[in-house]
């Protein structure tokens, strides 16, 4: 993926030249590029709307939602949360490593973060298959429709995130590139994915 952020950057971020990260710091450094922030903030707003709508429907049928919620396996939910939190930590450390110039470490950490992402998907697939086997499908009731749709669209975001981490990895592997803004953009997106999951986990699994 090529970014033209070297040319005109619409955010306040400094034009990053390839290779060296710390040249001339303006007072504020916006990590990554402005375009990714549009994505992240817009996505948060969109998901925020989904969450509000979920709360509205939950308020209309509290008993049904509570009863259905009991059929979710909270342990798997916790496991998924821990996996994503771990992946975010790996990705955050990889940004630090990249900033410090240790690209080999940054690359390894990116791979670890991606591996956790894959684990998340596998665990989620397992969870879905057990639910379906128990008879709780998307058409069971409103709660389960929300469950499958919210976790499903989140899964789509995780898959995109893996694609983006792959692009970050390719960036780090290529000594002619290694633009820090790209690494930061990828990390920003990944953290958003993690944040969304935490809210989904809270709403679907935990909130009573």
């Amino acid at each position: 993926m090529t970014h033209a952020e070297q040319a005109t950057s619409e955010s306040g971020s400094p034009a990053a030249s390839s290779g060296s990260e710390i040249e001339q710091h303006p007072a504020v450094h916006v990590p990554g590029d402005g375009h990714m922030w549009v994505m992240v903030l817009g996505d948060l707003i969109i998901f925020g709307a989904y969450f509000i709508i979920f709360m509205v429907y939950r308020a209309m049928e509290p008993q049904e939602f509570l009863r259905s919620q009991e059929h979710l396996n909270i342990n798997i939910g916790v496991l998924n949360t821990l996996v994503l939190l771990a992946s975010s930590r790996f990705v955050a450390r990889s940004v630090q490593a990249a900033r410090g110039g240790d690209h080999a470490l940054a690359l390894r950490l990116t791979y670890l973060g991606g591996l956790c992402g894959v684990a998340f998907i596998v665990i989620k697939a397992y969870e879905w298959s057990t639910k379906i086997a128990q008879g709780y499908t998307i058409s069971s009731n409103d709660f389960f429709m929300f469950y499958y749709m919210l976790t499903g669209v989140h899964l789509f975001h995780v898959s995109l995130g893996l694609l983006i981490l792959g692009i970050t990895a390719r960036e780090l592997r290529n000594p002619r590139r290694r633009r820090i803004s790209m690494v930061e953009s990828g990390a920003t997106y990944w953290h958003m994915v993690d944040l969304l999951w935490i809210v989904i986990f809270a709403l679907l699994y935990v909130m009573r």
Binding site: M1, A4, T8, G42, M149, G152
Partner: protein, 255 residues
Amino acid sequence: MSNTISTHTSPSASTADTRRAKRAGKRDVWLVFWIVPAFYTAFGVIFFALARVMPPPRPDVTTDQMVHFFHAHGLTIKIGFGVLVLILGGAGVANGIVVYHMKRMTVGSVLAYAYLGSMSIGALPGCLLVAICFLTAVYRPGRDPQLLALLYDLGLLSYVGSLGCFSTAYFAFAVAILYDRNQIFPKWLAYVSVWQIVTEILAVPVFVSKAGPFAWNGSISFWMGTVIFGFWLSCVIVFLMKANERQPVDEAPLD
């Protein structure tokens, strides 16, 4: 950037009147551009006010209520959709100018063709089918209610539920923007196009759900999708205008 009047004649003009060009960019591209907001305004009026499919009537109604719907709105459906099938070429124009600018990117033509193709595909199940179904439904008074119910379901499910054609178009658009170095469109427009794909995914349950946020008239599957589409379309129109403005008047015609 290209606001100066070009002093040498462009290859496409045969006389010297290009020197009169008041605006940067090419005349034919501007003409095509203005058709886009004009068309979508008409589209909005038709779909919101006349044809009554924005918002769509509810899926959780009885056959009698569906019959009543067609009876009550027969005239506006005829006017609205009748006009739509006349002006639908505007959709082709809108897709065409996007393809034109995509071909000016540095990424080659394959994604422009994919956009062209997918949007063309989408016009039938995603727009024309509901027009034809509704026009047929109101064509003959006294048609068997069960047949009207079929036309109701077929029209509205295809209208809200045509997912893949547009997803492919948005995918092609997003990838092309992200790889493009001519900065024809801003990178964040690629991400907005990804949101469009998300709304298509969120519309998947319309084939299952008859009420609630995931029905074909639901707050999530329909309303949020429409709002985000409106935002995406507005951005595209604005950036088509900017792409037009930044295009050098003497740029050679595309092959």
